[in-house]
Amino acid sequence: MKKLSYILAALVGLSMQFAIAQTPKGSILIKNATVITVTKGTLENTDVLVQDGIIRRIGQNISAPSGVQTIDASGKYVMPGIIDAHSHVALDVVNEATAPIVAEVRMKDVVNPYEIGIYRALAGGVTVSHAMHGSANVVGGQNATLKHRWGSSNPADIIMQDAPRTIKFALGENPTRVHGRGNGIQPRSRMGVEAILRNGFSEALQYKKRWADYNAAKSQKGNTMVAPEYDERLQTLVDILDGKIIIHCHSYRADEIYMLINVARDFGIKKLVFQHTNEGFKVAPEIAEYTMGASVFADWWAYKFEVYYSTAFNAAILQKNGAITSINSDSAELIRHLYHEAAKTQRYGGMTDDEALAMITINPAKQLGIDDKVGSLEVGKQADIVIFEGHPLSSYAIPQMTFVDGVKYFDIKEDKDDQRQQVSATEMVEPIMLTEENHRCMQDTEHLFETANALFSLHNH
């Protein structure tokens, strides 16, 4: 089949690059599993048929079409691939921290498909991650939504090309510390953060008008207007105002969350998701009414001043108030067991199995604008699937196999000791960094506040 398509491609004169640009799609039949669809209930003794990367059938007694491999999943649990709405895995650069607004930078430019964190995430059942710019700027760069197609050397292969554009915003201590305290420029306070946002969007409106005026005038007879300056930074803000980009905003305090809701309402912005949102429980009805919800930690706070006031019931309170709620990792370590993180919402808030699992599947998919493609087991969706030994919300759950587009990228039985794609030719032992410092929201900003470093013990989330 693959060979044939290559030959066809050669026949019709398509370039080799085009053939390579097609990411692999697999066909499998998973038999006799407990299928947790998340959106359509849990089905006992059920089969899932995947063909060419798409879920074709979910039902009983499905027989494998010829050439389709069958996997016996008796006694096992099958669920949709886990989606992490906040991650920095597989990025060579996290922060272009040098200006309060860097909307023009694209994380897709610096995706690194060799990073072992991708494989570790797969081993934790995570098939999609949201590779975000850091939180050093009020408006950070444009993020990349990744599909964990481990093994490719081409960054384009692990970028989910059909996902909508998203962008990072950040409020509070990080942007004021980097710019205000670190460099002596706006914003120095939370008021400055709001001013940066309002000024930025106002400038973007003027920029949009300049180009609209020029485009209207240039075909007119006797036109004396010349093209305005091109500015991708402002153009990106225009795209946000035009609803083409989803904002994902790093935030902690209720007042700043409510501030951004007001800014968004004033500028007619509807595509907005809050990240971290530790005081989200205080403004849950507002988040539910005006935004695409919040993506939070299960039970993690008190790592800096603005995030002392929080609760492990945050996710449940947000959810009960009708906000789309997801649980994220922001960490190369937590990303390996997001199913444990989701389970904590049952201990703190009594979520049902489906509600808890939705927080790491269909809800983050909604926040990334990809819920029509992934996030649940439904016919017609992309076949991102995990097979678990034990119920995924049990403490004893262990992912067995992880599939992206029906292709198996992780199998616990074929898990070699050394899964690195790239090995240094000159170092016998490469440094392994799997520590708390793997939270990289503030990576690449160190040089900006060397003096501040001496004054404050910095914590980087």
Binding site: V102, R106, D418, Q422, A425
Partner: protein
């Protein structure tokens, strides 16, 4: 007084230039350095006229910087100085695709009082496309001597600076009294490196800024055209940056992008695909995964002439458990893959060339031999040093091979050029002959681990010649089992008196002693690499200091009362 001196030096430079061009003049040569002729014949040598050549006996006649004839029945003019070439091998002068040799490091520009790091002036942020490498070039630099000694005769010099550092230039590595310039404004040098502590600070920022500068140059050009042919149009703002970029957006000159690995190759290619400029990729070290892409995109590539050091794989021990052995195997595999990349590129049919930028000059030939051992054909290796760079740089008309009418750039060696025993005896650049001393290499009976007749253990007194004057000190080497350790004293560059550093990577291969050490000079850490030939109680060699070039060093071993066992 100073003025007179200056005048005299200007005069001598002018006169020098004069002598270089004229064969007759009405005055004796005050410098005494003028060659008696500019016509040379290297007779009956084994000539490899181009990479495909099998080598045949011939005489090469050159006059005034041009090859006048190659063959066996040449009529040699009376003024020709004859160099008996019977035992010599002649190759086309090597061409370096891109180099920093002779480029003076640029001081970072002073920040203005109203400096804002989020929106710095272009010049401070490393965006200086109007600058030219030729303005930063010093032909008297020891780096130029070092590169020429390795057989390089022509190079593209790369301006120092940030993400868009300026225009490259083509120069010959010739006489000190000439500009040596062939062509300015050859390509725009670009990198993905950000400016420190200001915008754009990282690769993502640099890529965004590159798009911004490129697109605004296009718009500036449009505005300029409208302004030129209409009335009532506001004057377009012509900044040095946009003016410096014009030739790039017009497709007149390529962008030479410095990229080390496959991911950076893809980043440069994605910018090119998006914006549509001409592209040369330079400085590739890890490119195994993009060989097909390089081939299918037809991009011109300059591979860094270096190989990874083999210390890690040499340090592997036998008496370890299976898991460590598995790790060893992967490092070995990575090393083998790295050194075989050039061969793979050859097999893919990519006509690549080399760049010495970022490579250790003294190790160039050794690296090349490693690549050849890993499968690169000698023919492709020679092509990558001659015809391929000539074609990539657009100088095939006059450089890259030994043919009548081409520039007299030659490498003359004592044996086949890629053989370890061969030494370069002369390098001819632009018709000027540079002679090099041929060293007697002692055959070492032992297997190269230093157990033979050469002993390096003991206290050495050394002396080195640097532009700052001569300096010296002691280094002490002791042996522990099969490995060496030691220390070196030197004049403390950040103060007075002597400083001491431990020696690193001490090795004795045949009669060649090499080691390195770190020097702290005013907060900057410099690595000094020393390599020399040991003969009895003396050593002669060179000392290489990162970014500064290499300088001669000699040392003598003090007699010891303890017998060497």
């Amino acid at each position: 007084m100073r003025k007179t001196l200056l005048k005299a030096s200007v005069m001598s430079i002018m006169m020098g230039g004069f002598f270089g061009l004229q064969t007759t003049f009405g005055q004796s040569d005050p410098s005494g350095k003028k060659p008696i002729t500019s016509t040379y014949a290297i007779t009956n040598a084994t000539v490899f006229a181009n990479p495909s050549s099998e080598g045949s006996k011939a005489t090469v006649l050159i006059k005034d910087g041009v090859i006048k004839g190659v063959g066996n029945n040449l009529t040699l003019p009376a003024e020709a100085k004859i160099i008996a070439g019977d035992s010599l091998f002649i190759y086309p002068g090597f061409i370096d695709g891109a180099s920093n040799a002779g480029i003076i490091k640029q001081e970072p520009p002073k920040r203005p009082d109203n400096f804002v790091s989020s929106n710095p002036p272009d010049e401070i942020a490393g965006i200086t496309p109007w600058k030219s490498a030729i303005d930063q070039f010093d032909i008297s630099s020891s780096q130029v001597d070092d590169l020429r000694k390795m057989g390089f005769t022509l190079t593209q010099i790369i301006p120092d600076g940030g993400m868009l550092s300026g225009k490259t230039a083509l120069v010959v590595l010739g006489e000190k009294n000439s500009t040596n310039l062939i062509k300015e404004n050859v390509a725009l040098n670009a990198s993905l490196n950000g400016a420190r502590g200001m915008y754009p600070g990282t690769t993502v920022g640099v890529m965004a800024k590159f798009r911004d500068v490129y697109k605004n140059t296009q718009l500036t050009k449009e505005r300029q055209a409208t302004f030129a042919s209409n009335t009532g149009i506001s004057r377009p703002e012509l900044t040095p940056t946009y003016m410096g970029m014009m030739d790039v957006i017009d497709g007149k000159i390529p962008v030479i992008f410095n990229v080390e690995n496959d991911l950076e190759v893809r980043r440069a290619l994605s910018l090119q695909k998006e914006l549509g400029f001409q592209l040369i990729l330079s400085g590739l070290k890890e490119y195994d995964n993009v060989i097909d892409l390089i081939k299918s995109s037809g991009t011109r590539v300059l591979i860094q002439l270096s190989v990874p050091d083999d210390k890690a794989i040499k340090a592997q021990k036998d008496d370890t458990d299976e898991s460590v052995k598995a790790q060893y195997a992967r490092v070995k595999e990575a090393y083998d893959k790295a050194i075989a990349q050039a061969a793979k590129l050859e097999k893919a049919g990519v006509a690549f060339a080399f760049t010495t930028s970022g490579a250790k000059t003294n190790d160039l030939m050794k690296s090349l031999r490693t690549m050849i051992e890993a499968g690169l054909s000698e023919k492709a290796a020679l092509a990558a040093l001659t015809t391929n760079p000539a074609s990539i740089l657009g100088v095939s008309r006059f450089a890259g091979s030994i043919e009548t009418g081409k520039m007299a750039n030659l490498v003359i060696s004592t044996g086949p050029i890629f053989q370890e025993e061969s030494q370069i005896k002369h390098v001819v650049v632009d018709g000027n002959i540079f002679d090099y001393e041929i060293k007697e290499k002692k055959k070492n009976g032992a297997n190269g681990n230093g157990n033979g007749s050469v002993s390096i253990v003991g206290t050495w007194d050394y002396n080195s010649q640097t532009p700052a004057g001569s300096s010296g000190g002691k280094f002490v080497i002791s042996k522990d089992g099969s490995s060496y350790s030691g220390t070196i004293t030197y004049q403390d560059p950040s103060g007075s008196g002597q400083a001491t550093s431990p020696l690193k990577d001490i090795s004795l291969s045949g009669s060649t002693l090499s080691f390195s050490f770190d020097v702290n000079a005013g907060g900057m850490n410099l690595t000094v690499s020393v390599s020399g030939d040991v003969s009895g109680n003396s050593m002669d060699g060179s000392m290489n200091i990162t970014d500064f070039g290499s300088f001669p060093i000699s040392a003598t071993l003090n007699p010891t009362l303890i017998a060497n066992k």
